[in-house]
C-alpha cells in the first residue's frame, strides 16, 4: 500500500471455544474515511469492535493504528493511542452529570499527580479548571451544554447517544467507532444523527467506522461498506455495489430473493 492506513485490521480471527465469531477479517481505513460495517445480527460486528478496542484479545490477526501494532493492548491504552467508541446499548455513567461523563473522557490527559490533586496545588487547580473549560467547550460545540448538570441517565434516548459520542470525542480520538448509533431512533432522529456524525467527523478530523442496521443511515453517509455474515466478510465496496450484491441480499433475506434494485 502506498499510503499508510489510519486503521488497519489484518486477518483477524476471534474464536470463543468452538465458536468462530470472526474469521480472517481485514479492513483498511484511510485517514478521514467514513466506513460502514453491516451484517445480520450475530455476524460478528461488535466482536470486531471489541477486538479493535482491546476488550478481547484476538485468536489471531493484527490491529494497527497509524502503523502502531495495538493488538491485545489494554482498552485504556488503546484509548490513549487514539481509538474511541460508543456502545450498542448506551453505556454512560448514568448517575454522573453529562459534564462529569465528558470530564472522565478527558481524564487520560491529566498530568497532575494524585498528591497534587489531594493537596489542591495551584498547578492542579489550573489544570482542572482548563479541563472543565475544555469539556464545556466540547459540549457547547455539540449543542449539549444546556444538559451539563443533568444526570446522563435522565436524558432522552437520542440525547444520550449524542452525549456518548461527546464523551468519546473528549478522549481526542483519531478513529471513532460507532456501534449502532441510530438503534431505536425514529426516521427524523436518524436524519439528525447523520448530520451530527458528518459534522463531528469534519470538525474533529476523524476517521469513522460505523456499525448500523438502519440502511438509510448506512447508505446515506458511508463512503464504503463492508458486510459480515457468520464471521466472514461476504462483500465490500461503495454503497451502490453493496446494494446490488446478491450474496448480501441472501445474507439478509435468504436464498431465493431476486435483486430488486438491479431490475
Amino acid at each position: 500500500m502506498s499510503e499508510r492506513s489510519e486503521l488497519s485490521v489484518q486477518d483477524l480471527t476471534m474464536r470463543f471455544g468452538g465458536l468462530t465469531a470472526v474469521r480472517d477479517f481485514s479492513l483498511e481505513l484511510a485517514k478521514g474515511e467514513l466506513v460502514g460495517l453491516i451484517g445480520p445480527n450475530g455476524a460478528g460486528k461488535t466482536t470486531v469492535f471489541n477486538v479493535i478496542t482491546g476488550v478481547y484479545r484476538p485468536t489471531s490477526g493484527k490491529v494497527l493504528l497509524d502503523g502502531v501494532d495495538i493488538t491485545g493492548w489494554r482498552p485504556d491504552r488503546v484509548c490513549k493511542q487514539g481509538i474511541a467508541r460508543t456502545f450498542q446499548n448506551i453505556r454512560l455513567m448514568r448517575s454522573l452529570s453529562v459534564l462529569d461523563n465528558v470530564i472522565v473522557g478527558h481524564r487520560l490527559r491529566l498530568k497532575s499527580s494524585l498528591g497534587s490533586a489531594i493537596l489542591r496545588t495551584p498547578g492542579y487547580v489550573r489544570e482542572e479548571r482548563e479541563l472543565i473549560q475544555t469539556s464545556l467547550e466540547l459540549l457547547d460545540s455539540l449543542g449539549l451544554v444546556h444538559y451539563k448538570d443533568v444526570p446522563a441517565g435522565g436524558l432522552p434516548y437520542g440525547e444520550q447517544r449524542r452525549v456518548e459520542i461527546a464523551r468519546a470525542l473528549a478522549t481526542r480520538p483519531r478513529v471513532l467507532l460507532l456501534d449502532e448509533p441510530a438503534a431505536g431512533m425514529n426516521p427524523q432522529e436518524s436524519m439528525d444523527l447523520c448530520e451530527f456524525i458528518q459534522k463531528v467527523r469534519r470538525d474533529f478530523n476523524l476517521t469513522v467506522l460505523l456499525i448500523e442496521h438502519d440502511m438509510s443511515v448506512v447508505m446515506g453517509i458511508c463512503e464504503r461498506i463492508a458486510v459480515l455474515d457468520h464471521g466472514e466478510t461476504i462483500a465490500s465496496g461503495v454503497p451502490a455495489e453493496i446494494q446490488a450484491n446478491q450474496r448480501v441480499i441472501e445474507a439478509y433475506l435468504g436464498v431465493g430473493y431476486k435483486n430488486v434494485a438491479a431490475n
Partner: protein
C-alpha cells in the same frame, strides 16, 4: 462558556470554613476538659467509627468495590501500632509464651509515628491483597476479601512471636482516649477522602463504579484506580484500628472478627453510599444510640407489659431501625448527598428570594 467565579462567595466560604473549624476545636477542647470519661469514650468511639466508615465508603460507596476486609486491615493497623507503642517493660511481661521478634523488641515509638506506620502497614497489605483480588467483581470480591480478613485473624492467632497468639496484647498506651486524636484523624480522613473524591481522580473512581467496561474504554486504567482507592481506604482502616486498640488498651485476634466489618458496613449503608457526610453523622448516631439503648436490655415495664432482662435486645432494635431505613430511604439517610457551603448558601439565597417575591 465560562466557568462561573464568584470571589465574594469564595471568601465567604473560606470564612465559614475557618469559623466552623474554630468552633469544632473549641467544642473538642471543652469536651475534653469537662465531660466524664464515659461520655468521652463514646465520643472517641464515634470518631473512630467515622474514620472506619468514611474509609469503607471510599472503597465501597465511591469505587463500588464490595470489600469485606476492613477488620483485617484494622487488625494489621492495631497490632502494628500496639507493638510500636508498648513500653519495653510491658512487652517483657506480656510475651510469656515466646519472645517478641525483631524489630518490635528493639523499638518503642511515640504515638504519632506509630499510627502513621500502622496506616502504612495496612496500605502495603492492601496493595498486596488488592493486586490479585480486585480483579473480582461484586459478591465474589466480597467473599475473597472476607476470607482475607479471616486469614489475618487466624495468622494473628498463630504467630506468638509477634502477636502473642490468642492471648493478645494488653496495656496498650491509651493515647487515643483523647478527642484530639480520634476526631483529628477523623477530620484528616474526611479531608483526604473528600479532596480525592471531588478531584478528576475521584470522577474516574465514580466512573469505575458506574461501568467498568465503559470507564476502561474511556481511558481509565482500572487496576490503578481500584488499587488507589483500596490502598487509601485501607490505610485509614489501619489508622482506625490503631486508635481503637489504643482506646480499648487490649487487643486479641477475636477483636477483629467479621462482625466488626459488618457494623461499619451498616453505618455506611445507613448513611448512604457515596456520602461522606452521611458516614460521619451516622457513625455518631450509631455509636451514641448503641449506648443510649443499653437501658432497654435491663428489663422494664410499660403498664401491664413487662419485659424481662434480655441481653442483646438493643441489636433487635437496631435491626428494626435498619429495616425502616432500607424500606423508606433505599439510598441511605443522605443518599449520596453531601453537606457543602455552596449547598447551604444556595438554600439561603432561595429562601431570601422567595421572601422578596412575596414582599414585592
Amino acid at each position: 462558556m465560562q466557568i462561573q467565579h464568584d470571589p465574594r462567595r469564595a471568601r465567604l466560604k473560606l470564612i465559614l470554613t475557618l469559623l466552623s473549624l474554630a468552633l469544632s476545636a473549641l467544642a473538642i477542647w471543652w469536651a475534653n476538659n469537662n465531660l466524664s470519661s464515659y461520655y468521652l469514650r463514646i465520643l472517641n468511639l464515634a470518631g473512630i467509627n467515622a474514620i472506619l466508615a468514611v474509609s469503607m465508603n471510599l472503597i465501597f460507596g465511591f469505587t463500588g468495590l464490595f470489600s469485606l476486609g476492613h477488620a483485617g486491615f484494622m487488625a494489621v493497623g492495631a497490632y502494628t501500632c500496639a507493638l510500636l507503642t508498648l513500653p519495653m517493660r510491658s512487652k517483657q511481661t506480656i510475651f510469656l509464651l515466646a519472645p517478641l521478634a525483631w524489630p518490635f523488641n528493639a523499638v518503642t515509638l511515640p504515638p504519632f509515628p506509630a499510627v502513621l506506620l500502622a496506616g502504612l502497614a495496612a496500605a502495603v497489605m492492601a496493595y498486596l491483597i488488592g493486586l490479585p483480588v480486585l480483579r473480582l467483581r461484586g459478591d465474589y470480591l466480597g467473599i475473597a476479601t472476607l476470607g482475607f480478613a479471616e486469614i489475618i485473624r487466624v495468622v494473628a492467632n498463630n504467630i506468638p512471636t509477634i502477636t502473642n497468639g490468642a492471648l493478645g496484647l494488653k496495656g496498650i498506651p491509651s493515647f487515643a482516649n483523647n478527642l484530639w486524636w480520634t476526631w483529628g484523624w477523623a477530620a484528616a480522613t474526611v479531608w483526604v477522602t473528600s479532596r480525592l473524591v471531588n478531584s478528576v481522580y475521584g470522577r474516574s473512581l465514580l466512573a469505575v463504579k458506574e461501568d467498568e467496561v465503559a470507564a476502561e474504554i474511556m481511558g481509565v486504567n482500572l487496576t490503578y484506580h481500584k488499587i488507589l482507592s483500596y490502598v487509601i481506604g485501607s490505610a485509614f482502616a489501619g489508622v482506625g484500628g490503631a486508635l481503637m486498640g489504643s482506646l480499648v488498651t487490649a487487643i486479641n485476634p477475636k477483636t477483629f472478627g467479621f462482625m466488626l466489618t459488618f457494623n461499619i458496613l451498616i453505618i455506611v449503608v445507613a448513611g448512604g453510599l457515596g456520602s461522606i457526610t452521611g458516614s460521619v453523622i451516622t457513625s455518631v448516631i450509631y455509636t451514641v444510640l448503641l449506648e443510649a439503648l443499653r437501658p432497654i436490655e435491663s428489663g422494664w415495664s410499660i403498664g401491664p407489659l413487662h419485659v424481662p432482662e434480655i441481653p442483646g435486645l438493643r441489636m433487635v432494635v437496631f435491626a428494626l431501625v435498619l429495616l425502616v431505613i432500607i424500606l423508606f430511604y433505599q439510598r441511605g439517610l443522605f443518599g449520596g448527598r453531601e453537606f457543602t457551603w455552596d449547598g447551604v448558601l444556595d438554600w439561603i439565597d432561595r429562601k431570601r428570594n422567595r421572601k422578596q417575591e412575596v414582599a414585592g
